[in-house]
């Protein structure tokens, strides 16, 4: 049985690295007594996989982990045990069981983010930049890489931007195509002639999505059963 859990990474945990986040989840699973399966061999590893790494400094309402269980456990019981075992700053908010293999990372195509905390002037400038960006057919941006910078057309990677006091956007995420939120924000700032103050603002991941045809769907919808939210079972919408 594959247990899929939705996790939130809050303010107190936003500076934890992806590896640290993974270790924290693994240890919470062990504390919770979830019967996770281990790989064979000299060095057994717990069979779990996270969807997509989140940048250091970001919070998230939409982290997902697939946990392969060695023996079945009711989803509601597993979620309750996990929710009670999470370290400060991380919470388990919903869970379901998934048919077939764990394929989170391979299936994620899009992510949505919310950037908040800009001054009203900066927010207005970014709104202009966003409108101009979306009107373009292509937009060459400078992308930060480990070794420096490269240029790339990021327009095809952005599906939607809603700009107001906050900046909500949905962009490609995953193995096939990926855009980091800070690269988009920096590019919009360049278009608008405004600077995004890294220290004063907050970026949160608000969703991760698979695609069905042209539609975005939650990882908790595709081939899932027994969906439960922390606090008790609710009818699936």
């Amino acid at each position: 049985m594959i247990l899929r859990v939705q996790l939130c990474k809050g303010e107190d945990a936003r500076f934890i690295s992806h590896l640290g986040f993974m270790r924290a989840i693994e240890r919470a699973i062990r504390r919770a007594g979830i019967p996770i399966a281990y790989s064979e061999g000299y060095h057994p590893h717990p069979k779990m996989s996270l969807a997509i790494a989140l940048g250091v400094g970001l919070t998230s309402e939409a982290e997902y982990v697939d946990i392969e269980l060695g023996s079945d456990m009711p989803v509601a019981d597993a979620l309750k045990a996990l929710a009670d075992s999470m370290p400060p700053g991380i919470s388990a908010v919903s869970a379901c069981s998934v048919d077939g293999k764990a394929a989170l990372a391979a299936s994620v195509e899009y992510a949505s983010y919310r950037a908040s905390g800009a001054t009203p002037e900066a927010a207005a400038a970014f709104a202009c930049g966003a409108r101009e960006f979306m009107a373009r057919g292509s937009s060459i941006a400078r992308i930060k890489t480990k070794s420096g910078e490269r240029e790339a057309d990021i327009r095809p990677l952005v599906r939607e931007i809603r700009a107001g006091a906050e900046l909500d956007f949905t962009c490609a995420c995953g193995g096939r195509a990926h855009l980091r939120p800070l690269d988009l924000i920096a590019h919009l700032g360049e278009i608008a002639g405004a600077v995004w103050d890294l220290g004063g603002c907050r970026i949160s991941r608000t969703g991760l999505y698979f695609t069905e045809g042209d539609a975005l769907v939650s990882p908790m919808c595709a081939r899932c059963r027994d969906y439960v939210m922390a606090g008790g079972p609710i009818p699936r919408s």
């Binding site: 500076f15 693994e26 240890r27 062990r30 504390r31 060095h43």
Partner: protein, 607 residues
């Protein structure tokens, strides 16, 4: 803006590894300072992931925080990028739990694990905006305490400390906290309180020339030990449960300070350890538990403990590990049972290359022991073996240095022979790590000067020449750093201005190869007209007064002299676990060698 907001907005987004500075880990204890009667900031003068690896630090955190009327928070040395940012933004040193400014604590307690952290200690005081020297502090400043192995000669940093704690810290810290809480109620002044605390057994006050006897916990089973460890989000250097199976070591290696100052050997009971392990595994979720001590393979019930832990927790994904292996077949058999993985390689510490030299240092290991242990390791499927040696030991001759190369080559060819039966002789590798001997206070070698820098460099070159063999790799400890370590270890009060000057010049993290600035240290010494060789290379006679003479760490000077004389003649002193008492002086009253009680294991009442 408070510290928390400053960090969030102005500091942490711009520095490396911000999770070092945010706290909020599982099992961290947060309490309002207004609700408690006494507070201490436990300060570790190295970076977070190093400090979070020390069991002593966790014990002290628990001793304070298990009482709801006290609070202990943690602070670690900020990495240079963080320190620069804190200074630029005006953020002072703070406690990780509640982001309370360091100055607001009643006490700041530094752990002194290593001499090359002294500049970090001063940088932390400076970041805390507390006067560096005790004589510049006044009412309102926290009381600065230090403890740990380097406290057994605190003289080089005595000018910066109000109090120094000698020996085991768990009981004495509770006594100190109680006194501080009581003094706050009566409104006692700072200097009066310092003097009062100095009357607690095991506490020394550098401004009062009081002789001091170290504290020692007689029975570890009766002592407080945490049931919950803080679980870091960031990977600590030793990121696992450390189950302290015993304290002290009965082997009596003459170079080993820990082996002298933590005497006598005190084992915990097997049921006690199983109970602790169960709590710690359940409350942490860690994937590894390590049996910790100076020589864990010596623990009376090591095999029973290891197999119980593996049996009970292996199915829950918890691996058992042994941090230190003895050089013998028993240890290999144990490692084979316990450590499922053969990937990491095994480490042995013969320490010296010839039997003559191993007898001088009382390392009871023979070449046959090493060859049979290494042979067993290769037979069992390990093909990487690491060997630890020291050069510059007392009475060392060229043959002893050459012996290290011979021994390493013998181990390598043995490994090749065994592995070739599996057709894998090419995979065998022997890594040799060679450090330079640093004479330490309270050891039989405390009177010996360290080899000069030139002598060590020439011995390293000699050895390197003899190790140019495929499959053999050798690494040496930094000569300048070892020289400084020796000067600080054997130093006196004249060194305080040098350490302060080095800190002002920018020296930090001197124990880190990539951060150590030998040039700035040289500048600091020469500005003050001093030479580290005066302390590092000085040889003393038994009658010469030593800076740490006023500190009684348990073993007597007579014993150390006897051991030094045995060393001259290459005479072995037997392991006191086996009943041959060498009269070291560490046992007194309740304090004695305690082995896990066989009768108790069978369920009988303890005597």
């Amino acid at each position: 803006m408070n510290i928390r907001d400053m960090l969030d907005r102005k500091v942490l987004p711009y520095i490396s590894n911000p999770a070092r500075y945010t706290g909020h880990e599982l099992n961290a204890v947060r309490r309002e300072h207004g609700d408690v009667r006494a507070s201490i900031l436990l300060a570790f003068p190295d970076v977070y992931e190093v400090g979070m690896s020390y069991i002593g630090f966790k014990i002290l955190y628990d001793v304070v925080n298990r009482r709801p009327e006290w609070i202990a928070e943690r602070a670690f040395a900020p990495w240079p990028d963080m320190e620069a940012k804190m200074r630029a933004e005006g953020v002072p040193l703070y406690g990780l739990e509640t982001f309370t400014e360091a100055r607001k604590f009643d006490l700041i307690g530094f752990t002194l694990q290593y001499e090359l952290t002294y500049t970090n200690l001063l940088a932390m005081l400076d970041l805390a905006r507390i006067p560096l020297r005790w004589d510049a502090r006044s009412d309102g400043d926290p009381i600065i305490i230090a403890g740990g192995p380097c406290a057994s000669n605190p003289e080089p940093i005595a000018a910066f400390l109000d109090l120094v704690v000698m020996g085991d810290g768990e009981e004495v810290l509770a006594e100190i906290m109680a006194e501080v809480a009581a003094a706050k109620q009566t409104g006692m002044g700072r200097s009066e309180l310092v003097e009062k605390l100095a009357r607690i057994e095991g506490v020394h006050c550098p401004r009062l020339p009081n002789p001091v006897r170290r504290r020692v916990v007689a029975d570890l089973d009766g002592a407080e030990f945490p049931r919950k460890f803080i679980v870091p989000f960031m990977e600590a250097v030793h990121d696992r449960i450390a189950l302290e199976v015993m304290r002290g070591c009965s082997r009596g290696c003459r170079f080993c300070q820990a082996g002298m100052i933590y005497r006598p050997l005190r084992e915990r009971s097997l049921p006690g350890l199983c109970d602790l392990a169960d709590s710690l595994i359940g409350s942490s979720g860690y994937e590894e538990i390590s049996m910790l001590s100076l020589s864990s393979a010596d623990y009376t019930y090591v095999r029973e403990l290891a197999s119980r832990l593996a049996r009970d927790y292996g199915p829950r994904g918890v691996a058992v590990s042994l941090p230190s292996l003895r050089v013998d077949s028993f240890s290999i058999a144990l490692a084979r049972e316990v450590e499922k993985s053969r990937r990491t390689g095994l480490t042995f510490a013969p320490e010296a290359g010839t039997q003559r030299m191993r007898d001088i240092i009382n390392k009871g290991v023979t070449e046959e022991d090493l060859m049979s242990a290494a042979g067993d390791a290769f037979e069992s499927g390990w093909d990487q073996v690491k060997l630890y040696f020291m050069i510059g030991l007392p009475y060392e001759a060229d043959e002893d240095v050459d012996g290290i190369g011979d021994l390493a080559r013998n181990v390598l060819s043995l490994g090749r022979r065994i592995a070739s039966r599996r057709g894998k002789s090419g995979r065998v590798g022997v890594n040799v790590s060679v450090s330079s001997f640093v004479p330490k206070p309270h050891t039989p070698f405390q009177w010996f000067g360290q080899n000069t820098i030139e002598e060590i460099i020439s011995k390293q070159a000699r050895l390197r020449d003899r190790m140019r063999v495929r499959g053999l790799s050798v690494s040496f400890h930094d000569v300048q750093a070892s020289h400084l370590e020796a000067a600080l270890a054997r130093g006196d009060r004249d060194l305080a201005p040098v350490i302060q000057r080095a800190m002002e010049l920018g020296c930090r993290f001197d124990g880190w190869g990539d951060q150590f600035r030998a040039d700035l240290w040289r500048e600091a010494f020469s500005e003050l007209g001093l030479d580290p060789a005066r302390w590092a290379n000085a040889s003393y006679s038994y009658d010469d007064p030593l800076p740490w003479d006023y500190i009684n760490m348990g073993v007597t000077k007579d014993f150390l002299i006897r051991e030094a004389e045995h060393a001259v003649r290459g005479e072995i002193t037997p392991d006191c676990r086996k009943g041959d008492c060498s009269g070291c002086g560490a046992c007194a009253g309740d304090v004695r060698v305690r082995l896990a009680d066989a009768a108790f294991e069978k369920g009988a009442e303890r005597p």
